[in-house]
Amino acid sequence: MADMKNAVAAPGQGGFDVGAALKESGKAAFVAGLLGLPLLALKADNFGSKLGLVYRWDALFIAIAAVFVGRFLMILLSGRQKKSEGGVFAAFGKGIHNNMALIGLAGLAIGVLLPVVYPDRYVIYIATTFMIYVMLGWGLNIVVGLAGLLDLGYVAFYAVGAYSYAMIATQFGWSFWVVLPLAGVFAAFFGVILGFPVLRLRGDYLAIVTLGFGEIIRVILINWTDFTGGPNGISGIPPITFFGLPFKNGDHGTFASFFGIDHSPVQRIIFLYFVILVLATLTNLFTQRMRKLPVGRAWEALREDEIACRSLGINPTNIKLSAFALGAMFGGFAGSFFSVRAGFVSPESFTFIESAVILAIVVLGGMGSQLGVVIAAFFVVILPEVFREFEEYRMLLFGLAMMVIMVWRPNGLLSFREPTIRLHPKKESA
């Protein structure tokens, strides 16, 4: 640590301490070597029927060299950046910050035009997945970003929403459009159930209890076989309809015949995409509006200082429960969308890793930042798809990207907060 500080401090004093930087880089390279020896240099492989070791010294050498150079550049850059008060990145961030409404509209326009420009099955499919995560991120942002309640079990509400539609639709044959609001209500109800026992908890303790809650829901889904179908899940979930008109081949009462066009399977996929686009946009608009209302402001105040809130006569119980309930509600909406799209749900879709990914989207994006969630969801959902060719290194690169973001911007990509109300017009240089 001491070496690093010297290296960083040196540029301010005039020169750049190359020796200290080299020493620090050497240390990092040494650690990389230690880690890389079992991870990279040795590889178990099949030789006919026997298992043997393959030695890959070249890979190890490349890794060590990359770490050495990378660390050296990092020290060099961090020294430079200190000088210019955050550097270009901060200025870039401010630029985003000052044109938030414009960027939001542009994003929406891209979202709407995407199926027109690329009516491709695969592209729309990925975009739909992306929008689901954006919506989940925005929902969780209410709980984590605004109210400051660290929730590691958010996927439970996603599961409640998904199973609500799956079970009601397969048992009673109700339409998606009827079940969608119901799923939100159920999830909100579960949000309140989770909220009650954790009212007194904060931070790490809260995280552990919510983690437990997420697991309880999943374990119930696995073990209550009669009710939920157990590990086999529920299949044959009715697909989405165009407000009652099914997407299938037929001359009568189908989407295609109603509009007098030829049937194509892509129609349903594009329609699903627009549904999630609308749902996610509504989530965003709702949250943006809530921030300007007493409840939303109380959420943020609660995140800042609960004791001060109590001294101002704010009931912390109601405020926390409303955050849990509303956050869960959007999880429930997204969940029922998930099950209508997939046509199949099983507990495997709602593991802890899903909660972790959604939380990572919120944290990477910068807690409370709506645009940050979109950018982070892009990193988390789209990049692994783009890097599909790298096969097993895909997750390695993904992890690396996350680390780089957190080192580079510890408060998330966009950590600016715009006040919900202003007395004076915004100044560009403020």
Binding site: R297, E304, D305, L312, R417, P419, L423
Partner: protein
Amino acid sequence: MLFHDLTRPGNDEIKVSDDSLLEIEHVTMRFGGLVAIDDLSFTARKKEITALIGPNGAGKTTVFNCITGFYKPTVGRVMLTHPRKGRYYLERMEGFKIAQQADVARTFQNIRLFPRMSVLENLIVAQHNALMKASAFSLAGLLFMNRYAKAEKEAVERAKYWLNKVGLYDRADWDAGNLPYGDQRRLEICRAMCIQPAVLCLDEPAAGLNPRESLELNELLLGIRDQEGVGILLIEHDMSVVMQISDHIVVLDHGRKISDGTPEFVRNDPTVIKAYLGESDDEDLPQTVKNDLARNAGKDV
């Protein structure tokens, strides 16, 4: 009435003088074996500044926490006579309701603002309950109804009034955490005033202020007393503040009240001087020590 509200005594039940605001009666607070407050009684009157002073660890902040609902006193009664709403037994009320219903506002020894919210937002959050009522628990606001817009406008006007008073108007859009220390102290007082309190409890408002800022604080507090007509209960170590603005001083030491009266009275009270400065002479020293001192004195001469 079928159910008698235990937090609201009837007017015929207790005889109190009309100008009493806050009556602390026989309040004792024990933490396990430690007695932080021991049978404390005093009265703070309307439109007066009552100071609570005493050496470190005397239990002043504990008294505040008992009044504002952060602690429940082990024994005793805390009664508020609200100028507009009647009487409340504060020790029977849930913490946040003391501020919500009985309008008791407080500040903290270590400033508790909402640092990553703007100055203006801090003052608007303080008006949460009024805004919740006006917006039908935010529903009216969600539907963009006029009544919420109107209520919010009023809240902003009240915030502006206080910002102008303490000279923070130009910095209304700053993050509260970025303000200089003295301004944060003032903002915290403004925030407490925005709940339109019946009584304002200030825990060491002058701590860390320079002499000029202390003077400004005096003026602000006198303004709150005279123009807003709000009674103030004050904990303070800075005697220049206490002696100049207090109408009435209560002195605590080791959880007990040792003096109670006007500033002149308290200033000249020997028990107060003793508590602050220790023994004025060697009366209480053990006899052996006195003998030693006398012997040594004789030798030196």
